[in-house]
């Protein structure tokens, strides 16, 4: 730690060297990634990038929303009609229960299921569920369900045009607000604060939806947008004709509309997850982040990483457009960061979901700390022997490098599409170099953060 950094940390009046294990809640953090894994992962990322430049297809291949073969009818039926209504009702009931537990249960986070349910089971669990099943939160969002119930008595939305005009920008803001709460807010694991956040989040989005209409949730609710982005990488999706299909995840990602604000959402996701990783490194905890719970470093940290990722992406996409003769490439290339964001999320939160995710259910067995044993789990400890440290490390490297591979392939295909459509197209292959450079930088950063954890 440099003297300058120590000096910067001292004014916050907190002991130097004390840093939290980041994230909203959590009882353990992963071991630093073994050097060998990092070298292998990094080398592989570079190798993949060169293969992508030289040996992948020369004409666009991804069919996007037009691709896929229909799911069997009984399977598709599960996503519609009555089963869906039942699921919506269940999710709404569970959400209300979590808010009630947060506000009326034990004030001690070790005795209250709500912070665990929200930060771990919901937020982190949304990642694997969306990656496997698609944008489920759009289908189950309890705020959307509530809005539908309220809409019967509410006047017609006054400004439905705003959904188009603002695009995904409100969702980016919504995610940034959540990221701040999760990573930087004081006493963020306090059940009452979690309850207050949830109530405030619900009110803001319900009022916004009353003005803009139901489409607000798609464009403004950060959780729904997150699920939609990750869900684009699922092996199931909705084809452009509305049929539920089994499809190549690359087609799903390519089908994401290059709407206004998509870049912002993706950049916030990559940046905030990267900061969560940064916050766990000893470099950060002994340096600028040594203020621990102090609001200033833990607020500037995520904002700075988000801004850095944004600048990096804007520079890369701008340069790619310039080299390839297709200006304004940032939005059409934004989807290439989605697998990177997914890789970061899996790498950082895999073990959290497996281990601390158990706490949610253990505590839900006695939701109001009255000695009840509803699920037969009361008093149980977390089983930390579920997976080994080596498995965790392997999953982490595989996720980061996997995200890189998919992102690189998506960027390759989209660069070819953009070149083909540009009136003054030049050097489609050379134009990919800046994009690959971003991918490599993000991958190395991701691995480096896990190395320093």
């Amino acid at each position: 730690m440099t003297p300058a950094l120590v000096a910067a940390a001292v004014p916050f009046g907190l002991p130097v060297g004390a840093g939290p294990l980041a994230h909203g809640v959590g009882t353990r953090a992963d071991l630093p990634l073994p050097v060998g894994y990092v070298v292998a992962g990094g080398g592989l990322a570079v190798l993949v990038s060169f293969v992508a430049l030289g040996a992948l297809w020369r004409t666009p291949r991804l069919a996007g929303a037009a691709a896929g073969r229909p799911l069997p009818r009984p399977v598709a039926a599960l996503a519609h009609g009555r089963p869906r209504l039942v699921l919506q009702a269940v999710v709404l009931a569970l959400s209300v229960l979590v808010v009630v537990i947060a506000l009326a249960g034990s004030p001690d986070v070790a005795q209250n299921a709500a912070p665990w349910a929200f930060f771990v089971t919901f937020w982190v669990g949304l990642v694997p569920v969306s990656l496997l099943l698609g944008p489920v939160w759009g289908a189950l969002n309890p705020l959307r369900t509530t809005y539908r119930l309220l809409a019967r008595v509410l006047p017609a939305p006054a400004r439905p045009d705003l959904a188009e005009r603002w695009g995904y920008r409100p969702a980016a803001l919504s995610l940034l607000a959540f990221a701040w709460f999760e990573l930087a807010a004081p006493d963020r694991s306090d059940p009452r604060r979690v309850g207050a956040f949830l109530v405030a989040y619900a009110l803001v989005h319900l009022v916004a939806a009353a003005v803009v209409g139901e489409r607000w949730f798609l464009r403004g609710d950060g959780f729904e947008a997150y699920s939609r982005l990750l869900g684009a990488l699922a092996p199931v999706g909705r084809r452009s004709d509305g049929v539920l299909v089994l499809r190549n995840p690359l087609d799903g990602a390519a089908a994401l509309p290059a709407r206004r604000g998509l870049v912002a959402v993706v950049v916030v996701l990559v940046g905030s997850t990267a900061f969560d990783g940064l916050g766990r490194t000893q470099w950060w905890q002994n340096g600028f982040g040594a203020g621990g719970e102090a609001v200033l470093p833990s607020t500037t940290g995520p904002l700075a990483t988000v801004a850095l990722v944004g600048l990096l992406f804007a520079a890369g996409a701008g340069l790619a457009g310039r080299l390839g003769g297709y200006p304004g490439a940032a939005a059409p290339l934004a989807h290439t960061l989605v697998p990177v964001a997914a890789g970061y999320a899996v790498a950082h939160y895999f073990s959290l979901l497996l281990f601390d995710g158990q706490t949610t259910w253990i505590l839900l067995s006695d939701p109001f700390a009255t000695g009840a044993d509803l699920l037969g789990l009361t008093g149980r400890g977390v089983d930390y022997l579920l997976v080994t440290a080596r498995t965790i490390s392997l999953v982490q490297v595989a996720a980061i490098v996997g995200g890189h591979v998919v992102g690189t392939v998506l960027a390759h295909d989209r660069a070819l599409v953009l070149s083909a459509a540009a009136p003054a197209a030049r050097r489609p292959v050379a134009s990919q170099v800046p994009l690959l450079a971003i991918m490599v930088v993000l991958t190395m950063t991701g691995l480096g953060l896990l190395l320093g954890a």
Binding site: M1, T2, P3, V6, A7, A9, P15, V16, G17, A18, G19, P20, L21, T27, R28, A29, D30, L31, P32, P34, V35, G36, Y37, V39, A40, G41, G43, L44, L47, V48, V51, W57, R61, L62, A63, A66, A67, R69, R247, N248, L250, D251, R280, Q282, N286, G292, E293, G381, V382, Y384, L385, A389, L394, A398, V401, G402, V405, V406, V409, A453
Partner: protein, 157 residues
Amino acid sequence: MNRRPTRTTTLLLTVAALGAVTLTGCASGSSTAAATSAPAVTTSTAPAASATTPSETPTETPTPTPTPTEEGQLVEITVAKGKVTGPKGRVKVKAGSTVILRVTSDVADEIHLHGYDKHADVEKGGTADLRFKATLTGVFEVELEEKGLQLVQLQVQ
């Protein structure tokens, strides 16, 4: 139409297989690399002065290791006036070893080892030992529970 995704998938699979080979190839070598890189220095307590004069903190702090004793790996920490004195940074302990956290505090509080979920009460001006077998790997926080003050982070591997 069906052919396109198939060829894409084949290419991706090739790349993934390449990745798997590279990863498993290095997995065996990495554990030795980690083992040899652990420094043999055994410093347990830092001078109390460093807490008040931070500018003297060295740029590179050696990774602290606990003091081996007959009963187990000893980690000593002192809390005075809300400040923690003890090993700087993270303490590395070997998985499977017995660890003794010895905390001296000028306030009465509860020592809490997260993850293992072990507790020990320390009295005002007293010293308490929290002894446990390090069976779980990962990074764990030790806190003064009431004050919410982090005492040390244990890295069990």
